[in-house]
Symmetry: C2
Subunit: 336 residues, 2 copies
Amino acid sequence: MRNFDVEKYLSEGAAAYGKRSDIEAMADTLTKRGYQNIVVIGIGGTWAEWAPVVQVMRHYTDLPIYLENAAELCIRTDKRFLTKESLVITASASGDTKEILAAVKMCKEMGIEVAGFTKHTETLLAKELDHIVANPCGDCEGSYLMFFLLGLRLLFQRGEFPNYIKFADQMAGLYQNLLRIREEFEPKAAAIAKSYAKEPYSIFVGSGTLWGETFLFSMCILEEMQWVRTKSVTSADFFHGTLELVEKDVPVFLFKGEDEYRELDERVERFCREFTEKLTVIDTKDYILEGIDDEFRVICSPMILTSLVTERLAAHYELTTGHSLKFRRYYRQFEY
Amino acid sequence: MRNFDVEKYLSEGAAAYGKRSDIEAMADTLTKRGYQNIVVIGIGGTWAEWAPVVQVMRHYTDLPIYLENAAELCIRTDKRFLTKESLVITASASGDTKEILAAVKMCKEMGIEVAGFTKHTETLLAKELDHIVANPCGDCEGSYLMFFLLGLRLLFQRGEFPNYIKFADQMAGLYQNLLRIREEFEPKAAAIAKSYAKEPYSIFVGSGTLWGETFLFSMCILEEMQWVRTKSVTSADFFHGTLELVEKDVPVFLFKGEDEYRELDERVERFCREFTEKLTVIDTKDYILEGIDDEFRVICSPMILTSLVTERLAAHYELTTGHSLKFRRYYRQFEY
C-alpha cells in the first residue's frame, strides 16, 4: 500500500490497545468518584470522533450525555448541566488545540475535574487534566478505540454494557482486521481517487454512527488537507435540499452504516443510483471482522470507515492531486 | 422591490400576527394539561426554523427541550424522553411532509398528543394533530414569529419569560420593520446577487441563533431552489477545516448575529477580511427595529436574516441566474 508502513501500523495499534488497562483504571477511578452526567468536549475532528461514541453510549444508557463544541461551550456555559458532579472528558492529540484548552481551563476554574486523552504527559492539555491517558499515535482509529474503551467501560461499571470484557478482549484483533480491510480496499481507493480527486465539488452523505466520520473526512481531511470542495449532509437531510444538486456528473459519496439508520442510507442510495453516474458507496458491512462478534460491528463501523477513507482514500487523493496532506496555508500556521 | 407585493406582504403579516390569540390559547391549554419536557419535531427547513426558537427557549428555562429530526426520530424512537408526558410540537406548511407525517403518526400510535402548525385545517398533518394553529402564509418569518409566540408563551406560563406580553405586543410592528429593512437592503441584494449568484461554490458561515437560517438558506434555498453549490459551517467549526478553502476569489458569506456567539462570528470576519476579496457580511445589528426593545433583538434576528436572504437575496439570485425559485427536478416531484 502506498505510503503505508505495515510494521509501524501494527506496532502503533498494539500501543493504542496497550492503553486498555490505563483506560480501564481511569474509568474505574471516575466511577468510584461518581458523577451525575457526562460532558464530552471536542471541536472539529475531535468532536467528530466522539460523536459515534456518544451515540452508541446513549443507546445503552439513560444517563444524560452532552457532546459539546469547545468554542461554543466557553461562550454559553450551561451551569445547569456542567457542574462539579459532571464527568468531563476531552481529547486533543497535539494537546494544544486552542478551544479545547480554553474549555478545560474554564472547567478547572469552576472546580470541575477533567479527564482526557493527549499525545503524552507533557502537552499543554496534559498539564491541565486531572486524569490522563496518553494517546500515542493520535490517528482516528486509535482515538475511536480508546474513546470507546473508556465510554463502554464506564457503562460496564454501571451495569449497562455487560459484554464489555468480551468486547475489549476482541479489540486485540482489531488492527489485524483493519490492515486486511485496507488491503482489500486498496485498488478501490486508487480507482476512486483517480476518478474524483480533481472534481470541483463532491457531496458526502452518511448517518447515525458514521455521521461523525462523514463530517470529519469531508471537512478535516478533504477541505483542510486537500483543498477539495465538499458538502457533507446527513442521509435524512439530503432529501431536503441537497438532492436537487445531483446530476449525472456530480460525485456523491455515500458512507453506508450498520446501525438502525441504514434504511436512510439505502434511500439515498436508491435515489442516487438513478440520478448520478458518479456514485461511490462505501459500505462497512462489506468488510469482515474476524474474531469480533456481530453485536460489536456498529461500534467498529467508524473504525472501518476511517481506515478506508480518512487513511487510505486520503493517501490516494494526495497521489492524484499532488497536494501534500501535511501542508496547511492557515490552520495552526499563525494566530487567528 | 422586484417580485414583491407590499400590500400582500403586510396583509399576510397581519394574518400571521393575527394568530397570536390562537397560539396563546393553544399554549395555555397545553400548560394546563401539563408536560415533563418538550419535543420539537422538524426536518430540513422546518428543523432549521425551530432551531433558534429552541436555542432561545433553552436560554430561559431548565426544562429539557429536544429538537428532533423527524426521519431519525422514527428510526431510533427514544422512549426515555418521548412519552405521554411530553409536549410534542411540529410544523409543516404544506402539511404533507412525509417524514413529519410519519413521526406524528408514530406519536399518535404511542398515545402521545401532538400540537402543530400547518397551512389550514384540511391538510394531511392537520388531520393528525390534536392541537392546531393555521399558518396561513408559511414563509419563514411568519413561522419564526408563530413558533416564538408559542415557545415564549409556554415559558411565560412557567414564569420563565415574564416579559412575554410586552414582547408579543411589540411584534405587532414586526412586519413594518421587516418591510423597511428589506427596502434598505434591496440595492445590496441586487449587488450581491450580481457578484456571486453564478459562482461555482460559496461558503456560508453563521452561529448560535442564526445557525438554523444559515443552514436553511444554503440548503433549502440555494441548493434546492437555485442549484447553487454551497458549504455551510458554524463559526466555531469554520476554523477546523473549511478555512483552508478560503482564497481571494472564494465567496464567503458571514451571517453575523447578536447573541453571545457573536465573538465567534467576529473571529471568522477578521480571518476572511484578510484572505478573500469576496466576503459578504450580513449583520442583523445593522438594521434598526423600531418599537421593539433591545432585549428582544436576538429573538428577532433570524426574522431579519430570513427577510434579507431567504426572501430578498433569493429573489435577486433568481433574477441573475434565470433559474426559477419555483422549479424542482426531484424534490416532491415523484416518490423516492
